[in-house]
């Protein structure tokens, strides 16, 4: 009889779902309650349970993407590209179940696209959202995303709750990412700065100086006025000094990196222009629009991938580069064959004709893609950055663009100096009539050069699309600077364009910081004016640019 009773008890307890899981499910379901107190209690429970599955529903509740579909709690994705817009304006989206995290499938097994307007949003008041934040941050410590872990640690450091220390230490022990570990360490030290014991504070300050914990600086500065213990004061001062010198180092590196990346973009843009000008003596006022065509080509490729191959979205960029080259190059070829060919020998007229083309191209883009800016999402391998020092992250897309521009430069170099076409191009640049006499088909060289120049601009546009906004006015923003690079660098040597691009970019930045420290608001503007003045003065000595071809050419 006793055995039977024991078996029954055992069976009965087996039949129960594990209490923790049950509690979790209950708490998640209660998030949708209409009673604010029930919601608050649910949030606290989820925080206590430390179940990382709660991250998704809590984030959704906070962002307002938690909905009820009948009785089931679902999450609507926030990424635009996951949604589908029907012609009558209905919005469809794939849903994930809040409790299990699994997507809701349709009859064919694939995620079902459901009309968003049929769902009922779960409302969270602002006060409730404030309560979610600390829970989210403690849960985020175990998030798969290192940035989320870093910011979670940072938040805990700011909250300075001593209870967080064991949590952080436990997380640190399991952490493999160096910078996340450092962020957690920083957070622990920041909390310890508020400790009652002076030796703990001193050790915390010292450690912060060691790891250059810049997030702690405001707190440490505040402590300078309230601290009584002299040893701690010394430690604080030393740490602050260390951190400050570290910060100026990161600042310099960061600024230089930015200059390098901007100059490399400028160089790519100016390369095409310089080549065209060298060969044909024509300044292409529509060069900026070649840039724009390249950027919009990337946009179209992105859309295509989103529509047709959403799973391989990340590869759109690889396809976009040659597509933008070809798009811009074909437009360039078209312009050259129809227009510029007939305007041979009349550089000023060519400028004006290409200006007319640029107006038409801008309007064309406006008609097809709209006058508004378009959004181009970086592929995942270009998003985020590389942390090289504490407090210094170099974004991947800038690193890529820097490398890419030099690859382009190398490509152009190889083309110009190691191929037969390049030989012909250089010949035409040096002496057109003589080359024609020697059998070089100057007309064809012109067409090819213009196409290549436009194509390089197209690729630059594709690169630019990762950096900033893309709109019909994209070309106009960069073109004046590109012109100045060509004027400064001279024509005929690639080195000229490179030096000029980095020169103008660097000088601009240096002047900006110099003027900016004296007259804060005038910095960026006056630096542009100053660069122009310097350019004019430099041209006094070298009117054809820094690296002009020496030769006995008479009238231009």
């Amino acid at each position: 009889m006793r055995h039977v009773a024991q078996c029954l008890v055992a069976l009965w307890s087996l039949a129960q779902t594990p209490p923790a899981a049950d509690e979790f499910a209950k708490a998640v379901t209660e998030l949708a309650s209409r009673d604010r107190k029930v919601q608050e209690a649910a949030i606290e429970t989820l925080g206590r349970l430390r179940d990382s599955r709660a991250l998704a529903p809590l984030t959704a509740l906070r962002q307002g993407t938690l909905f009820l579909r009948g009785d089931v709690l679902v999450i609507v994705p926030t990424e635009k590209e996951k949604k589908v817009f029907l012609k009558d304006g209905t919005e469809l989206a794939p849903l994930t179940e809040a409790l299990s995290g699994k997507p809701i499938a349709g009859p064919d097994g694939r995620p079902a696209m459901i009309d968003v307007s049929s769902l009922k949003r779960v409302v969270a008041t602002n006060a409730l959202k404030q309560k979610i934040v600390p829970v989210l941050s403690s849960l985020s410590l175990a998030s798969p995303d290192p940035d989320a872990r870093k910011s979670a640690a940072g938040r805990m450091g700011e909250d300075r709750a001593p209870e967080s220390i064991p949590l952080l230490q436990a997380a640190m022990a399991q952490e493999r990412d160096r910078w996340v570990r450092q962020a957690m360490d920083e957070a622990i030290q920041m909390i310890r700065l508020g400790d009652a014991s002076a030796s703990v504070r001193k050790e915390a300050a010292r450690r912060l100086g060691e790891i250059s914990g810049s997030n702690a600086v405001p707190q440490m500065k505040q402590m300078l006025s309230t601290e009584k213990d002299p040893a701690v004061m010394d430690a604080l001062k030393a740490a602050l000094k260390d951190i400050e010198s570290h910060e100026s180092l990161t600042q310099t590196v960061s600024t230089s990196f930015e200059v390098l990346s901007l100059s490399s973009v400028l160089m790519m843009i100016a390369l095409g222009l310089a080549i065209t000008f060298g060969v044909m003596g024509v300044i292409n006022m529509a060069h900026g629009e070649m840039l724009m065509i390249g950027a919009y080509a990337a946009y179209s490729v992105q859309n295509l991938f989103q529509a047709v191959l959403p799973g391989h979205y990340d590869w759109y960029f690889v396809v976009a580069i040659p597509v933008s080259f070809l798009a811009a190059a074909s437009m360039g070829m078209l312009i050259e064959r129809t227009l510029l060919q007939r305007l041979y020998g009349r550089p000023l007229e060519s400028m004006l004709a290409t200006w007319g083309i640029s107006l038409m191209l801008q309007q064309l883009v406006r008609s097809i893609y709209g006058a508004a800016n378009v959004d181009i999402k970086s592929p995942s391998y270009l998003s985020g950055g590389l942390q090289v020092m504490s407090g210094l992250t170099l974004s991947y897309n800038r690193i890529f663009i820097f490398g890419f521009s030099f690859c382009c430069l190398l490509g152009i170099y190889l083309l110009l100096y190691r191929s037969s076409i390049g030989l012909r191009i250089r010949a035409v640049v040096q002496n057109r009539s003589m080359s024609a006499c020697l059998g070089v088909a100057t007309g064809r060289v012109d067409a090819l050069t213009f196409a290549i120049g436009a194509g390089v601009a197209g690729m630059a546009g594709c690169a630019l699309s990762q950096l900033g906004t893309v709109g019909p006015g994209l070309g106009q923003t960069y073109i004046v600077d590109a012109f100045m690079v060509v004027v400064l660098g001279g024509v005929g040597k690639l080195l000229g364009t490179v030096v000029a691009a980095f020169g103008i970019g660097g000088v601009n930045k240096i002047l900006e910081s110099m003027i900016g420290s004296a007259l804060p608001k005038w910095g960026p503007i006056l630096s542009k004016v100053a660069v122009l003045v310097l350019l004019i003065l430099l041209l006094q000595k070298k009117p054809s640019g820094l690296f002009a071809i020496k030769g006995r050419h008479a009238d231009a």
Binding site: M285, E349, A353, G356, F483, K528
Partner: protein, 393 residues
């Protein structure tokens, strides 16, 4: 028959033949006298009446024509494609604008002696460079003087170092771009992005009154006429010859013993002064001046006007500015979504098909017509040869 050497003729004959003078006078009469009368004297019900809107519009076009004249002198006759004429136009405009702002007096939004934008920027008093513009005379002189001085300085640096051709165009474009950014700064005290606007009176006359606007129109017409005569005089003089020579072959001019720098500087400064006057006349008629006037696109448009009308002919410059601006006004109404295609196509078409501009159209048509017309039989060798010999004697 050879054309007589212009320098031997009296001044008025040098500029135009008598018939040409009649045409010029007729056109001037039409523009300066008839048009305002059609507005003021003819009743609105009559089909000949020109509305207030049209008169002010034409006034604006006239100031553009003045600007184009200077550009033509610079580009058409001397071969300097300056893509920065907007700078001088805007400088002249700002000088007049400052004068007009100071004469709003207490009628502004804040009923304060200071211009409105200074009031809401909390500036306590006028910066040092504003008070002199209270005088109409000073403002008018400055509208010519400031651009001229600026052009002199810039031109000296540019031409002395022999910056030429496309390089010069780019430098001037960069100049107008940099100045545009500078003028956008509110700290400069020139109204920033909002510019100078909301004018009330000019030289004591209310700007809202049609009579004032008609007066400005007439003034623009007179200035256009005078500028035209002045430019004509320059181009028909020996100086003009040198300028054309510089356009055609600067190095040869240098080898011939002339220093092109002085000539180029002269014409650059002259064009700047003309642009400044144009700007000063433009601003009261349009009612606003703001830094977007300094946009490189606006300066490039000036070159387009001259190219469309006909470089190297002053009439072409005037014609081009009127045609292009009229076309733009009409197109932005009729085809607001696609007018840029048409305008762009016009630019490209004119540059390609009519490199000498619209003024060359009659000549080409005439030449084409002559080709189609029946010809005299070729079989009269002795007579034709003798005639030719006589002609070349």
């Amino acid at each position: 028959m050879q054309t007589p050497d212009p320098s031997t003729l009296p001044l008025w004959r040098r500029l135009h033949t008598p018939t040409q003078w009649i045409v010029v006078a007729a056109l001037a009469f039409l523009v300066i006298v008839v048009v305002p009368l059609l507005n003021s004297a003819v009743p609105p019900s009559s089909p000949f009446h020109l509305s207030d809107f049209q008169v002010t519009l034409f006034g604006k076009y006239l100031t553009y024509a003045i600007l184009a004249l200077g550009m033509d002198l610079l580009w058409g006759y001397t071969g300097i494609l300056s893509l920065g004429q907007g700078v001088f136009f805007a400088l002249g405009g700002y000088c007049m604008g400052m004068y007009l702002m100071l004469h709003i007096g207490l009628e502004g939004q804040y009923h304060n002696e200071l211009p409105d934008f200074m009031v809401f920027l909390n500036w306590p008093k006028l910066p040092w460079y504003w008070p002199p513009f209270r005088s109409f005379g000073f403002a008018s002189l400055a509208a010519v003087g400031v651009p001229t001085l600026f052009a002199a300085g810039f031109g000296f640096l540019a031409f002395r170092s022999r910056i030429r051709g496309v390089y010069l165009s780019i430098i001037t474009q960069a100049l107008t771009y940099a100045l545009m950014l500078l003028f956008f700064l509110n700290e400069l005290g020139l109204g920033g992005n909002n510019g100078l606007t909301d004018y009330k009176t000019i030289a004591g006359y209310r700007l809202k009154e049609m009579s004032t606007l008609r007066g400005l129109y007439v003034a623009s017409g007179i200035v256009l006429l005078l500028s035209y005569i002045a430019c004509r005089w320059i181009t028909r003089s020996k100086l003009g010859r040198v300028l054309e020579a510089i356009r055609d072959g600067e190095n040869r001019v240098r080898f011939s013993g002339y220093s092109p720098v002085g000539f180029k500087l002269f014409v650059f400064v002259a064009a700047a002064g003309i642009a400044g006057i144009a700007g000063a006349l433009y601003v009261p008629q349009v009612g606003i001046i703001n830094p977007s006037r300094l946009d490189p696109a606006e300066s490039i448009e000036v070159a387009i006007w001259v190219a469309v009308g006909g470089r190297g002919t002053l009439v072409g410059a005037v014609l081009g500015s009127l045609v292009v601006n009229g076309l733009k006004s009409w197109l932005t109404n009729k085809y607001p979504g696609s007018w840029l295609y048409v305008l762009g196509a016009v630019f490209v078409g004119v540059v390609m098909l009519l490199p000498d501009g619209l003024v060359s159209l009659p000549r080409r048509l005439w030449a084409g017509w002559k080709k189609l017309a029946p010809r005299a039989p070729m079989y009269l060798p002795t007579v034709t040869v003798a005639k030719e010999k006589e002609q070349s004697a």
